[in-house]
Every structure is written in C-alpha cells, then in structure tokens.
C-alpha cells in the first residue's frame, strides 16, 4: 500500500542584471533589442572564441547562496554540458556539474522549510521564434540573449502543494530583488520556473512542467497536474515520465515530449576556464555586501514600530519601500509623528509615490498635525460623503465643468468644519472624482 504524497521540486532560472554577459563584454540587457545586434565571437560561438568569466556574476551567485544559507564551495568549477540545439551556439552550454558555487540552503515558507539542493551559474541560450517561410516551417534565431549570466536554483523535492510552490517562488523573488542582482520578473523572462511533480519519490516517474510564466499559473498548473496524476494512479496506472507545458487556454497541462531518463550531456571541466579557489577572505568580502533581508526587516518593523503584520508584509515587499519607511520614521520621530501613521499612509494612500523623498512626506504630515488639520483618512471620508451628496456637481465635473471643483472643496470643508488642509482636500477630491 503506497503512501501518495504530493512531491514537488522546483528549478528556477534567474537572469542576472550584470552590465555585460557571463563570458564576454556584450551588453547583458537584451529585452526588446533589435535581433542579433549584441553579439561577439564568444557569445555567437565563432571558431577561435574563448570564454572569460564575469567576476560580478560569480560574486552575485555566491551572494545569493549566502542569503539562502547555502554552503559556499571553495573549489567550484565550470563544466561543459553538451547537446545540440539551434539556440546553443557552441553545441554545449557552459554550466556547473558536480562542483557548483553553492550547496544546500533553504527558504522558510508558512507551510514549512524548503531545502535547496544547490545554486549554480550557467549561460543563457539564444531565443527561438517559430515562423513559416514560403510554406516551410522554420525557426528564427536571435543570439542577443546567448551568453547572459543565468543562475539556477534547484530545490529538493520538498514542496507539497501548489500554493507552497507559489509562496516559495515569491519569497525567492523577494530575496533576489532585495540583493539587487536581478529584476527577477516572470513576465519579462528574467525569472523562469519549472516544476518536477509526482506523488512520491519511489513511484518510478516524475513529470516536468514548463511554460509557467506567472505565480498564478505555477499554483494552478501544479494543482491541476497533481489531480491528473492521481486519477491515473488510482487506476493503478503509472503516469508517463514526460515534459508537459501549462496551456492557459485549455486550463491544463499538455504533453510536450517524452522526458528522456537523463540525456547524455557528457559533462567535463571546461578546459578554457582555469579552476577557482576561494578562501574565507574572498567569501567574507561578499558576505559584507549582504543587505538586511526581508524576513529580518519585517521582524524588526513589528518589534520596533508595533505596526500590524499586514502593513509590515506590504512595506517589506520592496526594499526601496522598506528603506523609505525606515527613513520617514527616523525623520518623523523628531516631530512626534508615529510610525503607525506613516505605515497607514504608505499602505492605503501610497504617499511614497506622491512624495519622492521621505523628508517631503514627513514635512507634509507634520504640517497637518501642527495646524491641527484633519488626518488623511478623515479627509478621504469627508470627500466621499461630499461626492455622494452632490451628484449633480460631480456630473458637471465629468462633463468638463472644471470650476465645480472649488464648490466641491467647499462642501468638503463644511463637513470637516474647516479643518482640511486645502492642498490635501483638493488632491484627495480630484483622486476620487477621477476614479
């Protein structure tokens, strides 16, 4: 009697936002560029080319490993992984086989810790597009992306649900963005995800699912796939070992091709790249580059500022926002403005978009407080009330009669008993009218 447990492992590829490619000096930023305008002998795979590794890409990979609690390999190397495909100019991909930069590591999710197998560095391939020329099916190849530094994060098969996978991916994205090493954007392709899914490690199969280009699809595809496989297993059939893709229209996974049981990549150490040997000093210098990570920042915000967990999660979503909040609070303490107020305004009013500099925001808040002006939320409520009571005026505004705004501002001030700061009233009124 077999125990069926949803068993999911993820492989995540992350494009590093280095200035230049992994082994040559071509620009790494390829999104939207005219085809084949960012290539050189190295990334185009011309005869006589030789690779020279990008130091920053190596440092950033180690940085991610440190952020994920991995063990940093002191003697890593690059290997050649051989296979033929039109988007792979050398007929092999420079990657890492048995001595990657980072071993192990983990990310904690709300459902449990997910351990990592490794984090390694490799190069990206060119891009293939399908087309038809004179009735012949062809592929069009663009090598601008060929040679871009690509990190691969591999998890142990310890994920047990679609939403745990989604959470893991989101947390990884957040950490990567905090480190500033990649835009990690699933839509733009700087973050790519594949899932290996089965109902157990000893059932003799696993299905690889690709084409997951949003977190929503990651969750859906995994859940769908688990159901599909379970149906087969319940009939005592073993699901085929294969590669499937998520089909948005069909709302299901679709078979792409049989997954061969491990292609023969004929890995061997790349003889063009001298071996690497790192000491504690080198790794220590990289460790210094670690910023405070989101989990730690969140914990600190909760403890020091007593804001709600909901607000804290939103504020640490983006490192810039967290830093803004931090600066705003530091400035505000001088004037007795509380962190909770700032948090509330940032979350609900997105005031950090309005005020570029935290200093400007704080000045505004202080002004409001000093003059005993009504708080933002109070003004917002008054605006809403005035708008509901004066439907004809609102209609006039919508028909282009701009002068009606003055009248409406007056109505708002009536409700506020004159305690509204004019600029704030005007801004919030316009925001409401333009909704």
């Amino acid at each position: 009697m077999k125990d069926f447990v949803p068993t999911i492992g993820l492989e995540i590829h992350i494009e590093l936002k280095t200035i230049s490619k992994m082994f040559c000096g071509c620009p790494a930023d390829h999104f939207g560029k005219t085809p084949n305008t960012q290539t050189c002998p190295v990334c185009l795979g011309l005869p006589g080319e030789l690779p020279v590794p990008n130091k920053k890409a190596v440092e950033w990979t180690i940085l991610l490993g440190l952020a994920l609690n991995s063990e940093i390999n002191k003697a890593p190397k690059f290997d050649r992984k051989h296979y033929f495909y039109p988007d792979l100019p050398m007929g092999y991909q420079i990657s890492q086989y048995d001595e990657p930069f980072c071993l192990g590591g983990y990310i904690n999710t709300s459902i449990g810790r997910v351990n990592l197998t490794r984090v390694h560095l490799e190069i990206d391939t060119g891009k293939l597009q399908h087309s038809v020329i004179d009735g012949e099916k062809v592929s069009l190849v663009d090598f601008n992306r060929s040679g871009v530094a690509l990190m691969e994060v591999v998890t142990e098969p310890e994920i047990h649900s679609g939403d745990q996978a989604k959470e893991f991916a989101q947390k990884l994205q957040q950490i990567v963005r905090y480190l500033g090493i990649s835009d990690c954007d699933m839509e733009k392709g700087s973050m790519r995800l594949e899932a290996n899914i089965s109902w157990g490690l000893n059932l003799g199969y696993k299905v690889e699912v690709k084409n997951l280009n949003s977190f929503k699809f990651v969750e859906k595809a995994i859940n769908h796939e688990l159901v599909r496989q379970k149906k087969l297993l319940d009939k005592t059939d073993t699901p085929k070992q294969e590669t499937r893709g998520w089909d948005e229209k069909a709302n299901s996974t679709v078979s792409q091709r049989y997954k061969e049981t491990a292609s023969d990549y004929r890995y061997f150490p790349d003889p063009d790249i001298p071996p690497m040997q790192f000491d504690e000093n080198f790794i220590g210098e990289i460790r210094k580059m670690l910023p405070e990570l989101p989990e730690v920042t969140k914990a600190r915000f909760l403890k020091e500022f007593g804001i709600s967990e909901y607000y804290a999660d939103i504020l640490v979503q983006d490192k810039k926002r967290a830093e803004y909040f931090q600066s705003a609070h530091l400035l505000a303490t001088k004037y007795g403005v509380s962190a909770k107020v700032i948090a509330e305004r940032m979350v609900n009013g997105k005031v950090d978009e309005e005020f570029d500099e935290p200093e400007l925001l704080v000045k505004k808040l202080v002004e409001i407080l000093k003059k005993d002006f009504a708080g933002y939320s109070v003004v917002e409520e008054a605006v809403q009330e005035a708008v509901e009571k004066n439907k004809k005026a609102v209609k006039d505004y919508q028909e282009g009669k701009g002068e009606v705004v003055g009248f409406l501002m007056g109505e708002v001030q009536k409700i506020l008993k004159g305690k509204g700061d004019s600029k704030v009233v005007r801004d919030l009124l316009l925001k409401n009218l333009q909704k």
Binding site: P47, G48, D272
Partner: protein, 470 residues
C-alpha cells in the same frame, strides 16, 4: 637577384630592409612570383594574397617616413586554422570553405601590429587532425625535399612554405606535435611554446588544454624573434600566462653548462639509423661541455593513449559549434578523420564510459606530469627524435589509422604536460630531412633556443635548399 632575396633568413632580411639594400615590395614580389611558379605542385597555400604587394608598398613608404616596427614589411604565412579578418579561413575543410573571418587571432594581430604582411593562408591537416598533412580537402602538400612524400603535419603548409622559401615564417598550432613534426620533415625549425605562452584566441580550437600557438622558421634566431612578439598575456584568453616573455633573440648564447637529459623511453626500439643521427647531435652538445645523462619517464608508455582520449574528447566538444547555422556548411562535410576523432571523443565522454576513458586518462596525465617533474629535477632539457621514422610516401600509412596515430608518440608528451618543445634540423636520413627535439621546463623557451642554436651552428642545415618543381 630574386633568388638571392628569397634565400635570406628573417634576420638577414630585416638587416637588408634597415640598410635599404632591399625593399618590402621587391621581397613580396619575389615571394609571390615563386609561389605562382612552384606552389601548384607543392600545394602549401590554400589562399594567396596579391594585395600583399600593395601592403608592401605602403610598408616601404612608412619605413621611409621613419616608422619603426619590428616586422615592418615582412611577409609571413598564416596556417589556415588561424582566423584572419576579412580573409578566407577554411581550416582545410569543406565544412568552412568560404568562411570569411570577422576578427584576427591575437597572435596574428600582434604580428600585424608590428607591420608584418600576410602573404597567404597555408594548408594543414583539417582541424589540426593529423601528422602527415594528408587530411586536407585542398590538395595534399608535397615535401619540398622529396615530392610524393609527406611534409608532416598538421602545420604542413607553413612548414613547406618556409622550406620552399615562399615566406619568411609561417604560424602554426601544435596540439600533439603539429609544429615540431612538419619542422622535422621539412628541414625547418618548428616551435611549440609552453602552453599559455602565446594566446589561443582566434585559433580554431582543437584540444583546448594542449593547443599551443607557435611558428615555423628557417633558423633559431628567426624563431626566437617571432616569439618575442607573439608571446604574452591576452585578456581574451583566460589560460594565457602572466609570466613576462623574454627578448628571446637577445638571449641565444648559453651562459652556463647545462644538463641534457635523454629519456630512455624515447630510444627504446628506435630505428638504428635514426638513433645514430640523433646521437650525433647529442655529441655536439657534449663537445660543448654540457653534461649528458639518461632519465626515465615511465608513464610515457601510456602517453599516446592518454592523449588519444583527452584530445579527441576536447575535439568532439570544440567541433560541436560547427552546425552550419551561423556559418559554414553541414556536418556531413567533415572528412573521415574528423568524424573518427569526434566519435572517439564522444564515446570517451559518454555515460557509462567516461570513468573508464576520460577520467582515467585525466588521472594518467597527472602521473605523466609527475614523471616529467622528476626528470626536470635532474636535467635542464630533455632531447630525442621527433618522429620514429623518416618521411613516408603519400598514402603509405593511411590504410591503418592506428598506425598513423602512433607516429605522434614522441611529441604528445610535451603537449600533455604543457612543456615547450622545438624541432631543429639535423642530418638527413635516407636523403630526407630529420629533426632533433628539445623539450624545456615551463617558460624556459630561452634555454631550448640556446641548445638548438648550438646544433644549428654546427650543422647549418638551413642552408640546404630544396629543389622545387614548376
């Protein structure tokens, strides 16, 4: 007058140009005239550049206006697996055929920066695969000293062209003996520098961990001078060395007594005639007061099989980029020799076989390196023959690929360990050119030049001209 011009060595030519007793244009015209007359039968070139004449004229003008460059107006040949910008590069294979390179190999660029002029691209065993010169799609070159016999390879064309007095030097790549062997068979100096001494960037990779970039010249001084220009760190080649190159041509006089090591494994079962000729050269060194000792390199027994596995593994990988999509023609155009090596390499690396072949060979390489280190603890240089036999007739050894491979036995060890090696001409055997191999410690090219010069001074084989056929 023309004949005399082309008889000059690089050193003599530089002196002539400096003095003004000859011009670059005269030189290039004389060489091209010889090529047009004799190369149809010799087949040392795949591409010849008439444009060289215009460049020669410009060089003469530059010299008149006071420009000082180390090789200003000097015509040289480039082995056709070195990329040359705007010039057809074939690697002697129909897989490339009309490929026009978009950049210069670093080693070529350095020579061009010093004012040298490319007179043409020379023939080779396609992709470097061979030690006879027979594996080319562009006509098998003839040995200038004996038509119908091989030149040796893979830098067959460069060696033949230098021997035939078609240019002042020819570049070559040595992966398993490819400069030393044709040097030996064509009565010219074949140099294999230390691995990493000269940049590999822009040379079509054969076996990345053994490819060494060198050249063929008439004399030792010429070879040393060219090396002083091509050697040195290149940021585009991560394996190129930071060790500062010497002004080798200024350090050719031996200052102390050296210990000359004779690896006994080089002489075991060696053809008696050949052994006698080699020992005559050794005696010359002894007469100069250098100590002659016997050393042993036991792992040499396995050097060839180790090389066969490692070289072909890297070849199979390096040739994977030739898929006909971005350049070149389809893979079906590879000759049998290339196909064979690609398959040996692929098999040696494949799942289930990699441990037995690739990994075992890589470990064996360490043993060989250790043996060499032990030998070099006792000796300053190691010497011996280059080929175990004299030049053979076209087609004679082709029937059995394995027999052909075994001719590399004496040269591959230095490629596996990275040590520098040179072939300097010694007495002919059965009317055919023969070379004497000198292997030195890493980055001690100056020592192998010094020892080679002793032989050259005594025997002066470079004065023996081949009789060419029109």
């Amino acid at each position: 007058m023309r004949e005399e011009l082309t008889e000059l060595t690089l050193k003599e030519t530089l002196e002539g140009l400096e003095k003004g007793s000859l011009s670059s244009l005269q030189l290039v015209e004389a060489y091209i005239s010889r090529i047009n007359k004799f190369d149809k039968k010799l087949k040392s070139f795949i591409t010849v550049r008439e444009e060289a004449k215009i460049e020669a004229k410009k060089a003469d003008e530059a010299r008149k206006s006071g420009v000082k460059k180390k090789l200003l107006g000097i015509p040289f040949a480039v082995k056709d697996n070195f990329l040359t910008k705007g010039i057809r590069t074939t690697s002697a294979s129909y897989v490339l055929d009309n490929y026009i390179a978009h950049y210069n190999a670093t080693s070529v660029q350095r020579l061009l920066d010093e004012g040298a002029i490319i007179i043409g691209k020379t023939n080779l065993d396609a992709w470097g695969h061979g030690s006879s010169g027979e594996h080319t799609d562009y006509g098998i070159p003839n040995n200038p000293y004996s038509y119908g016999f091989v030149t040796g390879g893979s830098s067959s064309g460069s060696a033949a062209a230098v021997a035939a007095r078609f240019c002042l030097f020819g570049t070559g790549s040595d992966t398993g003996g490819s400069n030393r062997q044709p040097g030996s068979y064509c009565n010219v100096v074949g140099l294999k520098p230390t691995y990493g001494r000269v940049s590999r960037y822009g040379v079509i990779a054969m076996a990345s961990s053994t490819d060494s970039i060198g050249h063929l010249t008439r004399t030792i001084w010429d070879s040393a001078y060219v090396l002083s220009i091509t050697a040195g760190r290149d940021e585009y080649d991560a394996t190129s060395s930071f060790t500062k190159p010497d002004q080798y041509h200024e350090l050719l006089e031996v200052k102390e007594k050296l210990t000359i090591g004779l690896p006994k494994e080089f002489f075991e079962g060696l053809n008696k005639k050949l052994a006698k000729i080699v020992m005559t050269a050794v005696k010359i060194l002894g007469k100069q007061g250098h100590k002659i000792i016997e050393v042993s390199i036991p792992t040499i027994k396995y050097a060839y099989p180790i090389y066969a596995v490692l070289q072909t593994s890297e070849v199979s990988s390096n040739l994977a980029k030739f898929d006909g999509i971005r350049y070149g023609n389809g893979r079906e155009k590879f000759q049998d020799e290339a196909k064979r090596r690609i398959m040996i390499g692929t098999h040696s690396l494949s799942s289930g076989y990699a441990d037995k072949y690739y990994i075992q060979a890589a470990k064996g390489r360490t043993l060989l390196i250790n043996d060499f280190e032990r030998a070099f603890a006792k000796a300053d240089v190691l010497v011996g023959p280059v080929y175990p036999f004299a030049p053979f007739k076209h087609g004679e050894r082709e029937k059995d690929p394995l027999q052909m491979y075994l001719s590399d036995v004496l040269t591959v060890p230095a490629n596996l360990t990275g040590h520098p090696g040179i072939s300097v001409p010694i007495e002919f055997m059965d009317k055919m050119p023969t070379g004497f191999q000198i292997i030195g410690k890493h980055f001690q090219e100056k020592t192998i030049f010094q020892v080679a010069q002793i032989i050259e001074r005594e025997l002066m084989m470079y004065k023996i001209k081949p009789q060419l056929k029109a």
